[in-house]
Symmetry: C2
Amino acid sequence: MNRSELVNRIRSTKSFLCVGLDTDPDKLPAALKGKKDAVLAFNKAIIDATAPYCVAYKINTAFYEAYGVKGWEIMEATKAHIPATHFTIADAKRGDIGNTSSQYAKAFFDTLGFDAVTVAPYMGADSVRPFLEHKNKWTIVLGLTSNSGAADFELQKMGDELLYEKVMRTVRSWGSPENLMFVVGATQADSFVNIRRLLPDHFFLVPGVGAQGGSLSEIAQKARNKETGLLVNASRAVIFASSGDDYVEAAALAAKNYQIEMSSFI
Amino acid sequence: MNRSELVNRIRSTKSFLCVGLDTDPDKLPAALKGKKDAVLAFNKAIIDATAPYCVAYKINTAFYEAYGVKGWEIMEATKAHIPATHFTIADAKRGDIGNTSSQYAKAFFDTLGFDAVTVAPYMGADSVRPFLEHKNKWTIVLGLTSNSGAADFELQKMGDELLYEKVMRTVRSWGSPENLMFVVGATQADSFVNIRRLLPDHFFLVPGVGAQGGSLSEIAQKARNKETGLLVNASRAVIFASSGDDYVEAAALAAKNYQIEMSSFI
């Protein structure tokens, strides 16, 4: 999916919600727990219920890899169930030397067919560029993350700026707003005005709303641009909105409530 | 495998060689190319031939993920074929917020049964600690990598030190030399003396010998400690030593040559 298709989708859905499929089998509703293919059945039901209210799905690879081959089968089947109308993100946080990053890009763009993959910047240009070389695909590089550990390195001074600013300023020259996004955690609202100044045109993938405590309205006010420029992700707050028999309706309602709030910013 | 078992293994084998199973199907010898289960057959033959000369195997997850579910099946079967006498590393370069890193740790330590996994430090403490919490397992954090992109961030000044020094100095307090190693690229030989001073007791996983051009003897001279403290990895230089029918013998000979050179340093 290219940028104008994504922007059009945001405008027609009046939503910039990304639903995160961090499907922890231990948290499945009682009705599904322990059943064969419970995770896939859950994911399909959640996708069907939330699709009208979101523009993207993010699959957190860790929750599938934890179950080995079976987990990868479920990840592939889940990806295949996402409608072609929706932007798909492999939240994989990969990155390695060039010949290895090329293999990761092949895994997520070609074999699994995702639109985007998240990439860690620590190893520099040749670890990121192989992802950017894929046409009509997106590389989403970690900028300032939502977790407390962001303070350890990302928020440390490097010369006149902070490490995450150095990363964003350097990485932006490797791609364009047509194929490169950045992860900016929703819990980092104080930094959003500054980050939007540094990157006026790029999309940001914003995790950390919901369970991690970030505020949607604050982010929207501080960080959207004229094409919105935001994909705000909610995982647990949507998919595990209820652990009862009403889990499908509860997920749909949680996604709808985000969509309603988002519509006022589009 | 704990530290004293690893050290004993290095002493009895007189080797600190790690063989990297970066098995690119496009580079398989002609005799195997295109055959069913060629990658697994190749890996098994390489493991059997090189086991007497090395103490560890490193599986580069990218080369398996590139083939989706089938690739993960081959990765699991390859891991299962490695003798219990050998230290096993998932070169996965993972790292995410705490609840997600916990899932990655589960994937590589519990489900796949590796002794160690490589981890990217960018996201800080809560992205690394879930790996360190696993008993008798090892976390190998990226320090100074072997690729040209190391210059972009790792080798940039952060206060009075370089980013990679800040990372090593910070991360070492999260674990101990009993459960924490660092990646230091073989191409960074100028920095080895300084890094060993910073971390006198830790093991370093050293990729970049062979295809990437690092010098084994220079690293051994500058960076070994009294328990060796090094696992030097060679991937392409061993496993693709020959593309002819003699690929097994050529891999064994390449590994044996490293072992002979290493024995003089133990």
